[in-house]
């Protein structure tokens, strides 16, 4: 199988303001003109080779760099060191509340989400919109309402559906399944399986080893920005559970 994502020795750092400086006032009072920012390394020398059609679960405690890893692959963050090669159409990262503008209606948000993810063209517009609203199970009336009136579950349905109905080559999911009700979760699981069967690649961040085992064949475990395990998802779940013993 050909590699679609290849990370070689990738390290990522964030720029953080030193000494908790978040205002110009602090900046002047604490007189840190010389180096107001410091680098904080979040990912250390990650090597990763993901083949076409892989389904990879990413497990790890809070703050271990899971979301950062996804964002790096998505090209939202640039690695400080190392090389990243992607040979796949990148679709947006699916995270809770991503890109939802609360003042706008469901329809407007849908249109913007489709456009931003590069799935918008005049020809397919109506068809796509219909597919999305069908999948989200939101009524016409609900979709006309401003999304600030939505429940958390409805918001998740909306952002989820905008990505899921397009045929992504690479699906990246960052802990969003937990929000919808059981029915919607099931539907999403089915759709994820369908997408994988169509030959897409999946990167799935979760805190539930059970979900990872169910969806993914391969599992990766991160801790403090380092990859501590890469193997089958069953073994990854064991490693993950051991971290908390």
């Amino acid at each position: 199988m050909e590699s679609v994502i290849k990370l070689h020795n990738v390290s990522v750092s964030y720029l953080q303001s030193r000494k908790g400086i978040h205002s110009l006032k602090d900046f002047i009072l604490k007189a840190s003109f010389i180096a107001p920012f410091q680098k904080h390394r979040v990912l250390h020398h990650i090597d990763l080779d993901i083949k076409k059609g892989d389904s990879v679960g990413i497990l790890g405690p809070n703050g271990s760099g899971k979301s950062t890893l996804l964002r790096t692959i998505a090209g939202i963050i640039h690695p400080e060191e190392g090389t990243l090669q992607t040979h796949v159409r990148i679709s947006p990262l699916l995270a809770l509340g991503a890109g939802i503008e609360l003042e706008l209606s469901g329809y407007e948000n849908m249109r913007i989400a489709l456009a931003l993810s590069g799935n918008y063209s005049k020809a397919t517009r109506t068809e796509m919109m219909e597919k999305v609203s069908d999948f989200a199970e939101l009524t016409n009336e609900q979709l006309r309402m401003p999304t600030k009136m939505y429940s958390t579950g409805m918001l998740a349905r909306l952002s989820f559906s905008s990505v899921m109905t397009a045929n992504p080559e690479l699906l990246m999911i960052d802990e969003v399944l937990a929000v919808g009700d059981r029915g919607f979760q099931k539907k999403c699981m089915n759709r994820i399986h369908e997408i994988i069967e169509n030959g897409a690649t999946l990167l799935f961040v979760s805190h539930s080893p059970g979900e990872v085992e169910e969806i993914c064949k391969r599992g990766i475990c991160l801790k403090d920005g380092k990859k501590i395990f890469d193997g089958t998802s069953t073994k990854a779940a064991v490693v993950y559970n051991k971290l908390f013993d």
């Binding site: 964030y14 720029l15 953080q16 303001s17 400086i21 978040h22 205002s23 110009l24 006032k25 900046f27 107001p36 920012f37 904080h40 964002r71 998505a74 090209g75 939202i76 963050i77 640039h78 990148i90 947006p92 990262l93 699916l94 995270a95 509340g97 991503a98 890109g99 939802i100 503008e101 003042e103 706008l104 407007e108 249109r111 913007i112 456009a115 931003l116 993810s117 590069g118 918008y120 063209s121």
Partner: protein
């Protein structure tokens, strides 16, 4: 340059929808919508016309003098304030979509520019009754507005980038912004300022822009070459500073938003 244009071409829907989103958000929750944006300059105009109309006898046609300055001032002040918040406002989009971060300030200003141009139409009608000369010289508005927009974009990019790290930059700008209104010769003539304080006016970039704007609107001539060059230099330097600051700290945006 060609690379940027090609990139813009590929993502024209993204640009279009981000501008659409900004305009929607701006006018969505008001019955009068766009008309509100005309109210602001109109109210100021009324105040200046009733209170100051006889205060500056040296200015012929004071209404036209004020209005031409006012309309552009509001574009500047609204544009920079909006750009100041642009990265914070779009934090969720920035964190989840792989699109160039410069698209956000670009489209934000795009929305502001559209409102400004739409607002310019009724105000040009008013200006016509105030004695605006309708000549081909008005075509000079195109380069003047373009240059002014690049200037606003650069100032806004500096503010917006710094505001990600230091959240009081926005608050500070809200204070400086009105102060700049009084420091710029919008409602009064520049030669009224006492000689020893003249430098304050002359070092104000807006002074130079107001000059070329009034050349077109008030004098009905082409912009003076001298001030046009000044504005070009001011814009280039500001854009360069903005670019350097933005490039230095853009990679830190994600962790600070």
């Amino acid at each position: 340059m060609f690379k940027i244009l090609a990139m813009l071409g590929n993502r024209k829907y993204i640009i279009f929808f981000l501008i659409y989103k900004n305009l929607q958000l701006k006018y969505k929750h008001s019955a009068l919508g766009f008309l509100w944006s005309l109210l602001h300059p109109f109210l100021y105009l009324l105040i200046f016309l009733t209170i100051f109309s006889h205060a500056f006898p040296s200015i012929q046609n004071y209404p036209l003098y004020v209005l031409s300055g006012l309309v552009f001032w509001i574009y500047f002040s609204g544009g920079t304030s909006a750009l100041c918040l642009v990265f914070i406002k779009n934090a969720f989009l920035i964190k989840s979509f792989n699109i160039p971060k410069t698209f956000y300030p670009l489209t934000e200003l795009g929305g502001e520019l559209i409102s400004f141009l739409l607002g310019l139409i009724p105000f040009m009608v008013i200006m016509y009754f105030m004695g605006l000369h309708i000549t081909l010289n008005l075509l000079y508005l195109i380069p003047v507005i373009l240059l002014f927009s690049i200037f606003i974009f650069s100032v806004g990019l500096i503010l917006g980038s710094l505001n990600v790290f230091f959240r009081d930059v926005g608050i500070l700008w809200n204070t400086i912004n009105p102060a700049m209104f009084y420091l710029s010769p919008i409602a009064y003539p520049a030669n009224m300022v006492p000689e020893r304080f003249k430098f304050i006016v002359q070092y104000n970039p807006l002074y130079h822009f107001l000059k070329i704007i009034r050349n077109v609107f008030y004098d009905g001539t082409a912009p003076s070459l001298h001030y046009m060059v000044n504005c070009l230099v001011i814009t280039t330097v500001t854009a360069l500073i903005a670019f350097l600051i933005y490039r230095k700290i853009r990679n830190g945006f994600i962790s600070n938003l």
